[in-house]
Subunit: 212 residues, 2 copies
DNA sequence: ACCTGAACACCGTTCAAGT
DNA sequence: ACCTGAACACCGTTCAAGT
């Protein structure tokens, strides 16, 4: 009720505004000076509240990691639940490419995937995996999800840098199977590819882990 | 024979020295001014030869991508050959984390994996995959390899940022299977994890693609 | 054709000083 | 406790000028 505080900066507000700049202009748009002017304050005020730029980025990244990792889980069996979680997580991360890129660059991806990790432990256990098989499966699935997201984010951030599909293939490579060329050259929907790959992977891990 | 040219800069030499700085000091160590002084030349000379910093990075990245993607392939059957190639590729990339990180950041990963892509097309065809199944498998495997490499590179570049294993797990998560906790907490050798995962994935893809 | 020097606009950061 | 102003060292980049 009394909480107006129209002027005066807090660490929370600083991180908030920094997040806004990152989301709209990307990492190179976030300078201490721009941030300060957007806060209506002198540059040095930021140093008093959150410290230097490294500390600011740490605060921002921890905030993102906590927000973006929460995902719903639906489905009948454990495998379906894992795949659905992977898809939600991916969708979540792709909505904020710049922020996720920053989390990755700062080495905090493991923290961001913390909630997903919990779900994986639960579901893989339910699927019958035990001991090292379960541990390996957890790591592998997280690896795959984060890896695929990072790849897509990269494409989305700088599409002009990416070679068109035709450049990546030549007729020489596929002379044994000519029809392969058109399948390779046709741009594959990353969503479809993700579903296909993750499904195959989870299936293989569960099977391998429960077969002995 | 006459090629001495002790002084006088060429685009090649500029890129070479830039690569050296990147490898030893990382991306933030590469400034136009440091590069120029290391070349024994005025900053502006670089602009004449290779253009601005964006152009310099493009040149550097293309050079890395061409060098680092070449890998040997050994093994009896197609699956073994693919797995062995993945391991070599991974080993190759992990030897130059800074450079690979830069390639990724600039959106040129697809170019870097060009030679691997050729091998995959050949081996997957030999394994009996056709059409869309083969195309999906190619993309999936490349996705997985690049993703896993990026994850490890991140850990290697900033180990202090990474949460220790104990923080990532709590007893609550694994009360159904207590022994799982120690397996999860034990640091997994990334090499072993990679072999395990890639093997499972390739097997699953080949099986799925040849079963219908 | 190739290279330099000076200048400009922009960084992050520190530090003494204000209230 | 909280914030400012001035200053410093460092960026990338441009441009006129030299040979």
């Amino acid at each position: 009720m009394a909480g107006q505080q129209r002027q005066g900066v807090s660490p929370e507000r600083i991180v908030e505004v920094a997040l806004g700049i990152l989301e709209s202009d990307g990492p190179e748009g976030l300078t201490m000076r721009r941030l300060a002017s957007k806060l209506g304050v002198a540059v040095t005020a930021i140093y008093w509240h959150v410290g230097d730029k490294q500390a600011l980025l740490d605060a921002v990244v921890d905030r993102i990691a906590a927000e973006v990792g929460e995902v719903p889980v639906t489905g009948e069996d454990p495998v379906a639940r894992i795949v659905s979680m992977g898809r939600s997580l991916r969708h979540n991360l792709l909505a904020r490419p710049h922020l996720v890129g920053l989390v990755h660059q700062r080495g905090r991806t493991a923290v961001m995937f913390q909630p997903a990790r919990r779900v994986l432990v639960r579901e893989l256990t339910a699927a019958g995996l035990r001991g090292q098989d379960a541990a390996l499966a957890v790591h592998t699935i997280l690896w795959f999800v984060s890896g695929s997201v990072l790849n897509v984010i990269q494409v989305e951030r700088s599409p002009e840098q990416h070679p068109p599909a035709e450049e990546l293939w030549t007729a020489d490579d596929v002379r044994d199977a000519p029809d392969l060329l058109e399948h390779l050259a046709r741009p594959i929907d990353p969503d479809d590819l993700f579903d296909y790959s993750l499904g195959a992977l989870v299936h293989a891990l569960v099977k391998r882990g429960t077969s002995h």
